[in-house]
Amino acid sequence: MIEVQSLHKRYGTINAVNGVNFEVNRGEILGFLGPNGAGKSTTMKMITGFVRPTSGTVLVDGLDVQEHSVPVKERIGYMPENGPIYGEMTVVEFLNFIADIRGFSDPTQKEDAIDHVCDLCRLNSVRHQSIETLSKGYKQRVGFAQAVLHDPPALILDEPTDGLDPNQKKEVRKIIRAMAKDKAIVLSTHILEEVTALCTRVIIIANGKVIADESPESLLQRNKHFNALCIRFEEADLEVVKKGIKELPEIANAEINDGALEVFPKNKQSIDNLILKTCRDNEWAISHFEKRPVGLDEVFWELTA
């Protein structure tokens, strides 16, 4: 649905985006991660046709964004960062304006579409309120509503949950997930849990380049502690246990740390049963057995720092 091919953007001497390639198909939710200034927003703006690339192409549904900008924009729903919206309009006036531009000519169809997004984004209570008087959460939802009003096959969301409270974040994620079945969705975020909770694929971008493009699970496997165990024993001699465990062919390393033994598997495989069996066989009584919860934070830090 969306194909980005060797995209470059230079601002003077700065390479904001430097040869980005990727593809997003319908049914995929692509998480776009990267430190501030990495080129995420610039890439998204080039996909939507707002920023002209220095070189490279973006194809949406097989159409070049530069050559067929209007048909491409018809196929995209875009929610810009910080939701810039005409504040002096009421929610319903604004959505009517978007519907007019999106070419809803039949009044009932237009009204239905507006009712639908108001229900979806829970905007009914503020329909006739001017947008500038709304809270940030509502403004974000209005931005989201305008992006999905025409039920586009491609959705580009620049930090859709930024500034929302935890409940609102949960709601927006639920809506995105519900829509993902038949759409290609690209969303940028700073929130790493959001990626694991929502995305089917992750791209990490740093200094304008893609440095990782894989599923959240395989990205998690890059974490040093993936499937690693932390074990405490009742009476056993830690040095003896460490030596015994290190000799197992499935074990990459074992370290004593603050009175506990940390065990790292080879090839990130699960070693829970193996270690439990070994301990039982050797009569090493376990007092604490823990598999460290792993997050993308360390992976992100290692890749981008």
Partner: protein, 239 residues
């Protein structure tokens, strides 16, 4: 060009969503009439015509239309809404035309609201209506050119004040070039040069309209100035 209408509607009604528009209209009407009656000494002339009213207009427009036009694009850029607008299925030229026409319609509303002046001259005497109607027609046309210049200056910056200052300077120059005081000052230059310079002035081309004449050259001047300014706006926004 199907997208011009929704943009026009949003922009035109947008003026009336803010109290600034009403303040603008009132001040415009007070200043237009005040200058005609007091500075233009309407009653002392003892002539039932609006020529003094029309003479003041290029000067009034320089400031008032720059104030209306400064927000056309600068405000969209400052608030970031142009990012939303240009990611909707809209061609830049459609957006430029839609917003320009809305601003022009707003200013035209202001110009038409000076109708009590018409009633006054009609009541006080027996005016020649021809020059009054061509004067209004020319005035609206000239207002369009002033606004097109503002559209251009507004597109080059996201600061409304900067946009206002640049458009006042450009529009003031285009008024000054045909001002008799200036042409007297540069009378040492060859006449053809002075004529050429004053041909770039709003005042020169508006004079015919206020005397009841619709001359092709004057029409062409205002229309081409508007066209060129809007074209520059499109080019700048497309970059």
């Amino acid at each position: 060009m199907t997208q011009v209408l929704p943009i026009f509607k949003r922009e035109f009604f947008g003026y009336f969503r803010s109290p600034v528009a009403y303040v603008f209209l009132i001040v415009f009407l007070v200043v237009s009439s005040g200058l005609t009656f007091y500075v233009g000494q309407f009653f002392d002339a003892r002539v039932a015509s609006l020529s003094t009213f029309f003479t003041m207009q290029p000067w009034i427009y320089t400031f008032f239309i720059s104030a209306v036009g400064m927000r056309l694009w600068a405000e969209e850029k400052r608030s970031g809404t142009w990012e939303l607008l240009f990611t909707l299925p809209v061609r830049i030229r459609e957006a430029v035309i839609g917003k320009y026409l809305a601003g022009w319609a707003f200013i035209t509303t202001g110009i038409l609201l000076t109708f009590p002046l018409l009633l006054t001259v009609g009541y006080l005497g027996d005016p020649d209506w021809g020059p009054i109607f061509t004067g209004y027609f020319g005035s609206i046309l000239m207002a369009g050119s002033f606004l097109a210049v503002c559209s251009f200056t507004s597109a080059i910056t996201k600061n409304q004040v900067i946009s206002f200052v640049i458009s006042v300077v450009i529009n003031l120059c285009l008024v000054f070039l045909g001002w008799s005081v200036l042409t007297d000052l540069i009378s040492f230059l060859p006449v053809s040069w002075i004529d050429a310079l004053s041909n770039f002035s709003y005042s020169t081309h508006f004079e015919g309209f206020s005397r009841g004449m619709v001359i092709f050259e004057d029409l062409a001047f205002f229309l081409s100035l508007s066209f060129i300014s809007l074209l520059l706006t499109v080019i700048i926004l497309e970059r």
